[in-house]
């Protein structure tokens, strides 16, 4: 939907046609005043075109010469800069940073996945010590566990026929 300003501008520039033109012209309250306005804009256009047409540039060749020098200077500084430019340009820094973050994330995920079962095992039961006195029983094994959740220590013995008196708990 065009605004009044858009329709008016299009009408002044003879850009309205067909039904749109007819509808707009029929909506004008004062057709004669509108036509006068159109003529006024046409006069303004002629004045601006006559007075402002680009014909005042002098030293055109100097303009081009100066521009050529500026471009050449820019190219020279770019090539000189390129010859001594460090490897760590901004795009490369960005890429390196992104790759580093990705590698770090992968390692972190891998370590965390690996670490989880170990931590779970540690929190439940831990073998603290396993000792065997060969004089007491050659086939005997003694194992000590600590269960952190329940805050108890378990002494597990196997193959021991009797518990020596000096092993008694105090």
């Amino acid at each position: 939907m065009k605004t009044f300003e858009e329709k008016w501008t299009a009408w002044l520039d003879d850009k309205l046609a067909g039904a749109e033109l007819a509808a707009f012209e029929s909506s004008l309250p004062d057709r004669a005043a509108a036509e006068a306005e159109k003529a006024s804009v046409r006069q303004l256009r002629l004045l601006l075109k006559r007075e402002l047409s680009p014909s005042m540039m002098t030293n055109e060749e100097f303009f081009s010469h100066q521009l050529r020098e500026r471009i050449a200077l820019g190219q020279a500084s770019t090539s000189a800069h390129g010859a001594h430019s460090p490897w760590w340009t901004v795009p490369r820094l960005l890429w390196s940073g992104a790759v580093s973050v990705a590698v770090f994330a992968l390692c972190a995920v891998w370590v965390m996945q690996d670490a989880e079962p170990l931590e779970q095992s540690q929190s439940l039961t831990q073998v603290l010590n396993a000792r065997l006195d060969p004089t007491v029983g050659p086939d005997a094994t003694v194992t000590m566990f600590e269960t952190k959740e329940n805050r108890v220590t378990v002494l597990w013995t196997e193959g021991l026929k009797s518990l020596p008196s000096d092993y008694a708990a105090k």
């Binding site: 008016w8 303004l44 004045l47 075109k49 007075e51 402002l52 540039m57 081009s64 050529r68 050449a72």
Partner: protein
């Protein structure tokens, strides 16, 4: 980059020149500059009303065009693309100058408030005898009137009335919609009619 003036090559299609520029051929760019320097300079001059500033801004615009020509994809004509750069450079410069300066050269809000969209422009009763006015004075009066427009309104009126550009070309050059172009044209014309009616009705 050669240092002598390049002979004009009017037969070479513009797109070929652009493609050569994109491969780093500065002589091809020199040809494009030769084709457009007068229009660009004239356009900028009409925006800023100072020859030295217009020269510098036209130079900056062409330099910027050279640096970014690899990004020109040919979706619009070259001059529309070039004008976009010229307008960005020029409008930015005018805005910065106004910020640095003592006060606003124009005021869009006041401008819109002062002009009734449906008003008819009426000659001022205290009109000067323009019949005897020198051409330089006429030009100065037009420059003063255009200086009262916002940079965007200046750009629109100059591209339409001087360059005969179509609405869609102006919209592309200024990065706005066609509706915005038409609306700006409406208010810019109203303003100039108010300021210059005495002049163009008495010539």
């Amino acid at each position: 980059m050669h240092t002598e003036a390049t002979a004009a090559q009017p037969d070479v299609p513009e797109l070929d020149l652009v493609k050569r520029c994109q491969k780093g051929d500065s002589e091809a760019f020199d040809e494009l500059v030769t084709r457009y320097r007068t229009r660009v300079f004239g356009m900028v001059y009409n925006m800023v009303h100072n020859e030295q500033d217009a020269w510098d801004l036209a130079q900056d615009s062409f330099l910027k065009a050279w640096k970014s020509i690899v990004r020109f994809r040919g979706k619009s004509s070259f001059y529309t693309w070039l004008y976009r750069i010229v307008m960005n450079v020029t409008i930015d410069w005018i805005r910065k100058k106004q910020i640095k300066g003592s006060g606003a050269e124009f005021d869009d809000a006041i401008q819109l408030r002062e002009i009734d969209p449906a008003s008819k422009t009426v000659p001022k009763p205290d009109a000067l005898p323009f019949e005897n006015m020198e051409r330089g004075e006429i030009r100065a009066q037009i420059d003063r009137a255009i200086a009262q427009l916002s940079p965007e309104h200046r750009a629109v009126i100059l591209m339409k009335e001087i360059e005969d550009m179509q609405y869609n070309e102006i919209a592309e050059s200024l990065g706005c919609s066609i509706g915005t172009v038409m609306s700006r044209l409406f208010y810019a014309r109203k303003k100039l009619q108010n300021l210059l009616k005495d002049l163009y009705e008495n010539i």
